[in-house]
Subunit: 143 residues, 4 copies
C-alpha cells in the first residue's frame, strides 16, 4: 500500500457516515467496548455498500466479511459522536478491501481494514464482482 | 394471577436455560447493562419456543414480542452464570404470556413477563395458536 | 395515570433524543431485535438524566433501573432513525418513573415505562431524591 | 511466525473457553453478526487474563486492546456452542499478542490475533509486563 495515504488522514476519505456512542456501548473499564468498534466499521461499510438506500450487490448476491483488522488508537467514552471515513483500498476478483478511519473530533480513535466477499445468497460461494459495482465505488477508491 | 407462585420461586419452573455473562455485557457502571437482561429473557423464551432444536411455531408463522416487563432485583456482575426459568403464564387466542425468573446462584436477579404473538411470516398479522402448540407447552404452564 | 396523555402522542413530549438503527441491531427475523429497544429507552433516559452533558444525580450517587416495561407497537427495520420522547410520569421518594414514546417517522414503534432509583455509589442503597433534581426535571414532567 | 502451528489447529491450544450463541447475536443476514466474533475473542482473552477468577494484571494496571484482526472462515448460526482456544503468540515489552481459534464442532469458524497492552489505570500509559505475568502465561505460549 506504499503511496496510499494513511487511514489516519481525514482528507483521504470522500465517503463518510456518522455514529453516536450509546450508553450501552461502554463496558466496566468505563470506555467504549472494543466490539463496538467492529459495529462502527460495519455501519460505515454497509453505508458504502448501500448508497442512497439501495444496495450495490446484484440481486441474488450479498457481501460477507472475510477479514477485519482494527487498530485501536485512542480510548472512546460516552457521550460522543464518531465520524467514519470509508474508502476502497483494493478491488479483487470476488472481494473488496475497505479502509476506514474512525474519528472523534480531531482524534483518530481507530483505523481498520475489512475484506468483504461477494457471494451467492443460495450457493454461499464467491461470485465475481460485476463491472457496475466497480463503477459505483470507484469514486471512493484509494487515489 | 392470584394463586400463581411468585416468579422469584425457583421451584415454580420446570423449563430452564443457562446463560454466561460476557465481559462485553457490562457497562460503565461496572454491572451488567439492563438491555442484556432483555437478551437473557429472549434466550429463555426462544429456548422454550424451539424445544429440542425444532420450533413449535407452525410453518409460515413466527412469534414476535408485543410486551416485555422486567423487574430488576439485584445487580449482576461479570463473571457469572445465569439460570433462566421460563413458564407459560397464560394462553391467549393469538398470544402467550411467558413468566421468567433469572437467578445467579440463590439470588433472583430479575423477573420478567413477556407477551409473544404468533403472526404469519408474510402477512405480519396475528394467527390463532394451534392446539398442537398448546400441547407442547402445557407441561410448562403455570400450575 | 388517568388524564395523562398517551405515550403514543408525540405532542406530549418536550424532551427528545435521536438514535440511528445500526445494521448490527437487526436479528435473523430481519427486524430490529427487541433488546435494542431497551437500549434505545436507556439512551433517552440517560440523555434526560445527564442534560447538557452534566449529570443530575448528586455526587456520590447514581441511578439504577428497577423496572422496564416496553410495549412493542410496530416492527422496525434498518436503516432508520428513531426519535425518543421522554417525560417524568411520577416523582417518588427515591425513584422516578419515566414514560417514553419511540417514533419512526409518524409511526409510534414502542412505548415504555421505566422506574429508576437513586442509590449511593458505595452503599448501593436508595437515597432520597434531592429537591434540585425535581427542579431540573419538572419541566419534563407529565402535565 | 514461521514454525508456529496454525490457529486452525485445535491441538495447538491448551487454554479453552466456551460461549453460547445467543438468538440476539444474529443479524438480518440470518447468521451471527461479525461484531459478535469480536466479543467471543474478548471472552477468550479475558478468561486467559483472569485465570481462576483472579486477574493477572498487577494492581493499578489493566489491559487495553491495541489491535484485533479476525479471519472469518465459516458462517455461524444460532443455536450453537463455540469453543475458543487462546494462546500467547508473543511477549512484548508492554504487550502480549494472543492467537485464537474459534471452533463450532470440528469447524474452525474464525481465527484471530489480538495485541493487548498493559497500562496504568490512572496514567493510561504503557507499563512493562512484570515477570510474574510471563510466568502465569508461559504455559499457554506458542510452542
Amino acid at each position: 500500500m506504499s503511496g496510499a495515504p494513511s487511514l489516519t488522514d481525514r482528507a483521504s476519505f470522500l465517503f463518510w457516515s456518522q455514529e453516536q456512542v450509546r450508553y450501552g456501548d461502554t463496558d466496566r473499564q468505563g470506555h467504549v467496548n472494543n466490539a463496538v468498534f467492529a459495529t462502527f466499521c460495519e455501519s460505515g461499510r454497509v453505508a458504502l455498500l448501500h448508497q442512497d438506500g439501495g444496495r450495490i450487490a446484484p440481486v441474488g448476491t450479498e457481501f460477507v466479511i472475510a477479514r477485519l483488522a482494527i487498530d485501536f488508537r485512542a480510548e472512546l467514552h460516552w457521550p460522543a459522536e464518531v465520524a467514519i471515513g470509508s474508502r476502497v483500498q483494493r478491488f479483487g476478483r470476488h472481494s473488496l478491501t475497505i479502509g476506514q478511519g474512525l474519528f472523534h473530533g480531531e482524534t483518530c480513535v481507530a483505523t481498520a481494514e475489512s475484506v468483504v466477499v461477494l457471494i451467492g445468497q443460495q450457493s454461499r460461494r464467491p461470485v465475481a464482482l460485476p463491472p457496475a459495482l466497480h463503477a459505483s465505488l470507484v469514486l471512493f477508491a484509494d487515489p
